[in-house]
Symmetry: C2
Subunit: 544 residues, 2 copies
């Protein structure tokens, strides 16, 4: 039976195909896919499913989808089709209802899942190097910024069209639209702010020089098949020197040159689960942050439940130092506390926030929060009563949890939820919360809430009293969900994306922070599926 499954993966010679094809005993059990179907299904699986279920289908944020696991749950083709079409309240998207996948494609995927997963290919260092391209050599780049507003530029991800828009935050003028990797997941800047980096779901890293007359990409390299994170060397003396990409597949981190993206080295993150100590080949790198006080990156090894502090100070000598810290499983996204000593990260399937002390380089605390925390980078508030706190929203419930982060001056509040903020309406669906030191507000979106109204709302809370001050609604002209808040460099205004479908232009809404009035709308045919927005100053300084 196992052999029969393998047969359809396209990895075996044709010689035996005829033998098993004539074996009705196997045909009953494992649905047949043609080579073309297998190729198409593999691509759809990679694009839509692998993120949560894993390339090896062993499960992570989503359950395991191996043929064995599906059979254990008694799922046949119609049952699997129903899941794919309708989604689940647990977070599985309604691919059919949304119109992303056709009925034929859903049937194909159901049959595909009952076959053994094809072994994902490795990515050779030669392939990586072959993909590397420098469009503007370092010596031909500007020696000073062409635009005085450059530290208030915004990079805006146009997710489903694989582009990044560079917008002047001061004039609101679109400066350029840069072709990047597929479904860019995040943008980061170098510590000087000059270079902006994007990482595509397809593992393609792109660097944009913001000092150019027309900011544009100056180099590109594909270092993974699947990736979610990138960050840069932010420690003093290493400005613009290195970037690091966190790969989902192959499970690894890749260190590249900050200015040219030339691949330098990589290390595997396949390791043992921190708790069961059993082997997990698919131990993926989720979020990365960069320390301002040490030459190190914080890498979250999702499945293994380990946080790796990667010291880059001796990369030029062929040495990488890694502090492997046992933490909690299914690490996802997180950010710095106000002091930037502590890093807080969601163990999202475990309803916990892990706190890493990057000074002492150890686990500081694990804090129980609500269902499926999704902090993004979180939001830091210097609160008059509680002292410094860091907040996270949740995908799975309508509360925001705020955690005390100052064990020295506020030891009683440290690493406890000191405040639960309740959002109106039923259910969670929050993806991002945000504030700014100069703003009075804490902002929260609800794009994953099934309710159409909540999806299109931004909730504004007073960051001291935690009272709901206002609910901002996306104007009717723009179809889509409200997602991701970002402030300008002064905290005087904030930007919201209207996240629609690829075939419909939407908008970026800009609100005055003082009055909470919609003061400007960025629109145009090019505004397609905008998601994350990254202000240069806030990104270089990790202000959130």
């Amino acid at each position: 039976m196992k052999v029969a499954k393998k047969l359809f993966t396209g990895l075996v010679g044709a010689a035996l195909l005829s033998i098993t094809a004539s074996s009705p005993a196997n045909a009953d059990e494992v649905p047949h896919l043609t080579k073309e179907e297998m190729k198409k299904a593999s691509q759809i699986y990679f694009d839509r499913c692998a993120g949560c279920h894993g390339m090896l289908r062993k499960g992570a944020t989503g359950p395991a989808l191996t043929p064995e696991a599906l059979k254990e749950r008694g799922l046949n083709i119609p049952a699997i089709e129903a899941f794919i079409y309708n989604g689940t309240p647990g977070g599985m998207p309604d691919w059919g209802k949304q119109g992303v996948l056709t009925k034929e494609e859903i049937n194909l995927m159901a049959r595909f899942l009952l076959n053994e997963p094809p072994p994902p290919p490795l990515l050779s260092w030669k392939q990586i190097n072959d993909s590397w391209e420098v469009f503007v050599p370092v010596e031909k780049r500007p020696t000073k910024p062409a635009n005085p507003n450059w530290k208030n530029f915004f990079g805006v991800i146009l997710r489903d069209v694989g582009k990044v828009a560079i917008i002047d935050g001061t004039t609101k003028e679109l400066l350029n639209i840069v072709n990047t990797g597929f479904a860019v997941h995040i943008l980061r800047t170098s510590s000087t702010g000059r270079y902006m980096y994007s990482i595509g779901r397809d593992g393609k890293a792109t660097v944009i020089d913001l000092w150019m007359e027309k900011p544009d990409k100056v180099a590109e390299v594909k270092v993974c098949y699947d990736a979610r994170s990138i960050d840069t060397s932010k420690y003093h003396g290493y400005e613009d020197k290195y970037a690091v990409v966190g790969c989902y597949w192959p499970p690894s981190f890749v260190i590249i040159d900050g200015k040219t993206l030339k691949p330098i080295t990589r290390h595997s993150t396949s390791d043992y689960y921190y708790d069961t100590k059993d082997y997990v080949r698919e131990a993926r790198v989720a979020s990365i942050v960069s320390s301002h006080y040490d030459p190190l990156w914080v890498l979250n090894i999702k499945e293994a439940g380990q946080v790796w502090l990667v010291d880059y100070s001796k990369v030029d000598k062929g040495t990488v130092k890694v502090h492997m810290i046992d933490a909690e499983r299914y690490l996802h996204d997180g950010g710095w506390d106000l002091s930037k000593r502590y890093f807080l990260v969601a163990a999202n399937m475990r309803n916990k926030i892990v706190v890493i002390d990057t000074k002492d380089k150890e686990l500081e605390a694990i804090v129980e929060v609500g269902t499926k925390p999704h902090p993004g980078r979180g939001a830091n508030i210097d609160h008059p009563k509680f002292g410094p706190i860091w907040c996270t929203g949740h995908i799975g419930e309508n509360r925001i949890a705020c955690i005390g982060t100052d064990p020295e001056k506020h030891p009683d509040n440290a690493w406890k939820v000191v405040k639960w903020i309740e959002m109106p309406g039923v259910g969670g669906g929050n993806l991002f919360i945000k504030t700014h030191p100069n703003s009075k507000w804490l902002l929260a979106d609800r794009p994953l809430n099934p309710d159409k109204e909540l999806q299109r709302s931004i909730f504004v809370f007073d960051k001291n009293s935690f009272e709901l001050v206002k609910t901002l609604k996306v104007p009717k002209d723009f179809p889509g969900r409200a997602v991701h808040e970002e402030y300008d460099e002064n905290g005087s205004e904030f930007w919201i994306s209207v996240w629609g479908r690829k075939d419909q232009p939407t908008a970026i809404l800009i609100y005055d922070d003082e009055t909470l009035k919609l003061k400007h709308i960025i629109k145009g045919d090019w505004v397609r599926t905008p998601t994350g927005k990254f202000n240069v100053t806030n990104t270089m300084k990790d202000i959130y």
Copy 2:
């Protein structure tokens, strides 16, 4: 065709067996093995071949033995049989000639190699914990040493019988014979010297308490399927606290409690080759040494060509810090320089010695030496002319290379071969050289030399003039090869093993260091295949 190969690995259901069995097209290409044959061949492969060729047969010290690789070299069954029977001058043993494998077994192995290697199983943490046994709890162990001579005890590996003999070096009395893992590869002691650890080829670690009336094993655990190295936490404050096992398969290091061997944590060593940056699943841990000046172990990741400095100071907090240092491929054995700041290790297939600076935690130098260096731990000499030097013999040639190791006071000699010592006769075959601060000599064996006389000789050089002073010969009464030299705690005598066949008792020869006369012979029916001998004081202090 690939499917057909898989069929015989016993990993697939029986359903399809009949189908391929009736397929003559495949029978031509891939020799058929029964389930029993497959099992037997897998065991022989593991016992005799995997060490050099790898469990995945991708090659390391020996060439790749995948069916593809064999076919590329045009090797059919008779040709493969000839290799296995006769061996090669490059180091492949003559398994047939030696009488280790029968003609039937050699034919079986040739057919086995033309099948795809069965995927080696993972070893679960549960299996490891299930194998863990404490024979004498810590609280029931002696509070003071029962024998005043204990720091001059010797542990002697009785290799092929899977035992370790504990001998009182002062009285030469056999104290106990302890059952250990299969084909023990090395013995180490804790930094107090009280505990002696063995590691079997089968990954079984055993700890012997030397303070007992009759020294015996007090705990045991099997942490790998295949292993070569173990060492202990030697840094001040961590005495007797931890041990670490370096696994060949699964490729990993496992940290265990020093007194009870309770498994604590493990990490994978599968990573990317330091040079090509391509993935190597089978990146095995070769030798390990323990620093006296830092809470760290030096692990040699053979295939990847990386040296990992593993810091154990925060293991109790769930954190392991690893300095991953790019070095050279196929790292094997090595030892400390006289200052114990530098670690020197053979990259044996590259004819190089890699020098790691464990204080600055980086690669210090790579020194070109002769063909297939095999230092064991090497030999340190404080030379009147050259200053501190460290020497290694070679399997592949008859010279010993001595390298200057003091960049501060003897910078002109540092990390250069300052002396080549030529051994008499043709060819190499040296496995171990040894000296002691109180001895005038440098000793060298030749057990892998094809010449029967050279195999049974120990060459004694003056450690200052490097002149050959004497050649010691194994007395005719004892069949076997002379192997491995070890001094007593004062350097007043040295011990040599006579390495024979399992079915023949041999001897341990003890020579007076002053006169070079054979002063004592340890013999008896129990003296079977003695190899490495480890004096407690020399092992705890890393004197060589």
